[in-house]
């Protein structure tokens, strides 16, 4: 084995191909060589995802602190508190692993493990750079949806296995939220899928000579909102609404078992950022940076990976930004917003894109012309939606003001409750229209 060649192949992000070549030349069974390199690849990818969480938590705390005019962690690990999360993790590891009496041992202990597993499994189809992908399945996008739907099971396992009614109620809320927001998420991901004519991640990136964010901004926005809800982050962090339900489904968990839920949440959030990057921002594409060659090293792959991570972390920063900005919504608002607004809008959007894209294809319109037509149709749809919301908000407001002028005495007690609900709803709609 030639170390310089190994270094060269590593810099062009293809060390496994080189290793396999060398091993097979040395007389190893090709299938065995493939298995060994695959296992190494899995270990590297999984460890990266787990270790980056240490950094992500630090980043989130620091950025949030800055937004709230605080300093944030600044004691452990130098001026910037870089080792704070490591210290926290060590503390969590050293805690006793408790299984409460009366808990279902299998369900209770299986839930955190499965949670982290599903969070890690999804990374298998994310392309980090040209050719650097766990497995470029022809059903890539569908695989992600399938695996992420399995994480709902973990919530139920945790909630039921804890033998605690608050945990169970928390799990019910969490499952209701995740199952509901899966619908707009799946439907909004249909749009880039239709635009790329493929579910394969490699082909979706190849189709994005113009990023899909320009072709499908509404779909991107809906996906982002659903991703917030799916990962259980503000303003949809009802899964762990400390002020309301203590801690939700993981109330009985402590130490490392609890931190595995946190781990899964952060891995999931970073994954959603990576998925957003891949599907809407063109993944590793950046003005043909992947074709750069330095000497006889294909350095472009490394640059492409850098671009991918820059985009991913930019999206992650938006996640943090939203956490620092928005208050939590109520559970009824959360479900209302999903079923009465997001789902109908996504269905209309998907049908519009399907018909429009077919018409454009039949007329031979492609490239920037196609992008501009799609953009205009999205803007028109957004305008119509906002106008409808505004009218509905005004209507509700007028009804409310009318009933207020009539005076409270004219109303039965039974009606009072209904008006209360209407009030909240109208305010929410008016607020949405005002935005």
């Amino acid at each position: 084995m030639d170390p310089i060649k190994l270094l060269e192949s590593t810099l062009s992000l293809a060390p496994f191909e080189y290793l396999r070549e060398v091993w097979v030349a040395a007389g190893m069974n090709p299938a065995l060589a493939k298995v060994i390199t695959d296992v190494i690849g899995v270990v590297i990818l999984a460890s990266f995802c787990l270790l980056i969480v240490l950094f992500l938590i630090w980043l989130e705390r620091k950025v949030l602190a800055r937004m709230q005019d605080r300093i944030g962690p600044n004691r452990v690990g130098g001026k910037f508190g870089l080792l704070q999360t490591l210290a926290d993790a060590l503390k969590l590891v050293s805690k006793e692993a408790i299984t409460p009496a009366g808990a279902d041992k299998i369900a209770f202990n299986l839930a955190p493990i499965l949670m982290v597993m599903t969070a890690l499994l999804m990374w298998a189809v994310i392309p980090f750079a040209p050719g650097v992908i766990g497995s470029d399945l022809n059903i890539g996008l569908f695989y992600i949806l399938a695996v992420s739907s399995a994480s709902v099971v973990c919530l139920l396992l945790a909630g039921w296995g804890s033998n605690n009614k608050y945990a169970l109620l928390g799990a019910f809320r969490a499952v209701a939220q995740m199952v509901s927001y899966e619908v707009p998420m799946v439907l909004s991901l249909l749009v880039p899928l239709i635009l790329a004519r493929s579910m394969q991640m490699g082909e979706i990136i190849a189709a994005q000579t113009i990023p899909f964010l320009i072709l499908a901004p509404i779909s991107a926005l809906i996906f982002f909102i659903s991703a917030l809800a799916e990962t259980g982050r503000t303003p949809f962090d009802l899964l762990e609404a400390e002020s309301e339900i203590i801690a939700g489904f993981h109330i009985e968990y402590g130490g490392m078992k609890w931190s595995m839920f946190m781990l899964a949440e952060f891995v999931g959030t970073l994954f959603m950022s990576a998925l957003f990057t891949t599907v809407y921002l063109g993944g590793w594409r950046f003005f043909g940076v992947e074709n750069v060659v330095l000497g006889n090293i294909q350095i472009g792959n490394l640059l492409a990976m850098l671009v991918f991570f820059l985009k991913t972390f930019a999206v992650f920063m938006v996640f943090i930004w939203i956490r620092g900005t928005l208050p939590r919504v109520r559970i009824d608002q959360l479900l209302d917003f999903n079923w009465k607004f997001l789902v109908p809008l996504t269905i209309v959007l998907t049908m519009m894109v399907v018909i429009l894209d077919k018409v454009l294809e039949l007329n031979g319109i492609a490239g920037w012309n196609r992008a501009i037509v799609h953009l205009i149709s999205n803007v028109v749809l957004a305008f119509i939606t906002l106008e409808l919301l505004r009218r509905r908000g005004r209507q509700i407001r007028e009804e409310m003001e009318g009933s207020r002028q009539a005076g409270p005495d004219d109303h039965h007690d039974a009606d009072g409750h209904g008006h209360e609900a209407d009030h909240g709803h109208g305010h929410e709609l008016a607020h949405a229209a005002g935005d």
Partner: protein
Amino acid sequence: MTAQQIIFIVISAATIVSALIVVTNRNLFHAALALMASFLGVAGLYVLLDAGFFAAAQLLIYIGAISILVIFAIMLTRRLMSASEPSFNSQWVMGLVASVLVFGLFLYVIIQAWGGAVAQTFPVLQAPMEAPGIADSIRALGAALVDPNGYVLPFEVASVLLLGALIGAIVVAQPEKKS
């Protein structure tokens, strides 16, 4: 025995064992979990057959939706934390008859296939990993579903059935009008 055959046997055994747990376990929640494991095993068999789309659909629909619904139904209707409970209806006779009939059907199909085209029915046993056209199988599947010469009629019938179920759900869930 190839590695694929070993994997096939392990997955099938796990599927059958968890299916047995479903019907023998008296704890309803554990039975539901075993049902999920059994569904997962079937998804694994699909993967072995190179039907990745079906495996993902199995995971999404059977584990992500149907099992969750089953668990919700159990949690909202039965006593929640009771460790075990007696069987509360006597439909096991009908269940037995139905499963024997289905088993007979499967047996018949397998015996039919065994004589001639074993390779067609059991790609696992022949292991044609790099079969031509398999990479583009979902595109072919999608085209076949809307092809007049393919499966457009069953597809439409299934859609109408689902629409009917949807409307039925709305009717059932609608609050009764105050008179």
